[in-house]
Symmetry: C2
Subunit: 282 residues, 2 copies
């Protein structure tokens, strides 16, 4: 059926996929056990394990950290709130550095409480990015701004298309140094009529991460009903083709929020399924 399967060595596990059952230590061991070469931890699991201990375990198993999830969440109703967000992002950069992560994934943040002003929220995101970028450059941690699906515009991320994220990259890193780029998550962008053109526009310098899963029909929950590759309607091979045509050579990170299905299963079965589906549909 497949003529162009992806390199299995490109598979990475985002720990959101197994968070129903596994902490970070178990996810690291699970990746090693299943021959998955990349891992992308969420910070709450990282903090629970301890950064130094996690870094040691990841190194001991020879895993690549394909990203740290996540920083961002810049907008806040008060200057103090925005300063706290900046401080947290600086810590996240340091954690990414300690892990040797390939990037820090940033989710913009939504509207501040009681605000209807999405343009102002977007301006706060731009300001936040500008404030943390120097620290990220010094640490050698590329910032991967992840546009989120428009259904999250109010409460999670007011950066909602790849074009919008790349406009921010152009504004803040016009020299295209690689310090600021994007994370392309198929779940958020698969519908976008401009997707191919914007992946091409981004180019290898700004394509810092590639996340895969699937869009289920019907989708029963806005947040926690993502599908396993092959169970939905996203043409993953086509999108991977666009990424490769733009010279993206990085990992394919599986990130599945699935409260009612995959989070309830034995994570070893989940990882086996990820490997098989990556080969067949990825």
């Amino acid at each position: 059926m497949k003529t162009n399967s992806p390199d299995p060595a490109k598979l990475s596990l985002n720990t959101a996929t197994t968070r129903g059952k596994w902490g970070l230590a178990q996810a690291i061991e699970g990746c090693a056990r299943h021959g998955i070469r990349g891992i992308s931890p969420w910070r709450d699991l990282l903090h629970a394990m301890g950064v130094a201990k996690a870094a040691r375990a990841i190194r001991a198993h020879g895993l690549r950290v394909t990203g740290l999830c996540r920083g961002g969440m810049f907008p806040a109703p008060t200057p103090g709130g925005r300063r706290r967000a900046i401080a947290d992002n600086l810590r996240a950069i340091d954690e990414a550095h300690a892990l040797g992560a390939q990037c820090l994934v940033l989710v913009a943040g939504g509207l501040p409480a009681r605000s209807r002003d999405i343009a102002a929220a977007r301006e706060q995101v731009r300001e936040g990015l500008a404030k943390i970028l120097p620290h990220a450059r010094r640490a050698g941690i590329p910032l991967a701004l992840e546009p989120l699906h428009p259904m999250y515009a109010a409460d999670r991320a007011c950066v909602n298309t790849l074009a919008q994220a790349l406009d921010l990259c152009d504004a803040l890193d016009p020299e295209r140094t690689g310090a600021l780029g994007v994370a392309v998550d198929v779940y958020h962008v698969w519908w976008d009529p401009l997707l191919e053109a914007q992946i091409r526009r981004a180019g290898a310098k700004r394509l810092l991460a590639y996340h895969i899963c699937d869009w289920l029909v019907p989708t029963t929950d806005l947040l926690l009903d993502r599908g396993m590759m092959g169970d939905g309607v996203i043409d993953l091979q086509r999108i991977r083709g666009w990424m490769e045509a733009a010279n993206y050579r990085g990992f394919h990170e599986v990130e599945i929020f699935s409260a009612k299905n995959w989070w309830r299963r034995d994570p070893d079965v989940v990882l086996e399924t990820c490997r098989a589906r990556h080969q067949r549909f990825g």
Copy 2:
């Protein structure tokens, strides 16, 4: 609080808002009773009442039909399915003509069954539009293509941004005759960073309908959890300002799918609330 309330005579009721309790005859009488001057029927309610009878009742009460909902739904897995969709759209155009509707609202349709090819679905939409446009011109019924929120891309509409809808208008009606335009529903487009620019691009000739409601935080259902104006995060006054700056002079049509809240209430209370919220937040 408000310095720039909309003209209450611009309010229109989309019958989706009262469909929990009212058929079309009741909605027509309800509009008359509450001083609402426009109505936009859904076709299932129209068929249940009968087109001729509905047209008479609407005329008797002096209501404007601000749109007929809805045609479209062009993609299908087989040529026969696509032909049936065309035939249904031609009937919808005739119904819109019988009602004296200002436009026929079109929802593109999603992916055909078992397809992952959204580009092909979009091409089927373009073909379908091209096939029905001559009949719509003859009938004098403008076609209002409504971009739907990207969360409906798979199962309802693969036209997901105003820019994409306007590209189709440019392709199929390059002379801007007014025969093909767009319906701007704030629920679907409020998040779009290009919204202001695309409303301006559309201009009065192509701005055929304006639908209002609100985006709730949190949103608990992808389809049936829309909010009443003022209960969510959409800056309705700002968007109306953009519509007016583009010389849109039409109605403000309230369309609220709300299975757990507004559909359960007394529709007279719903209409009263629509009037008040339109004044305060619209």
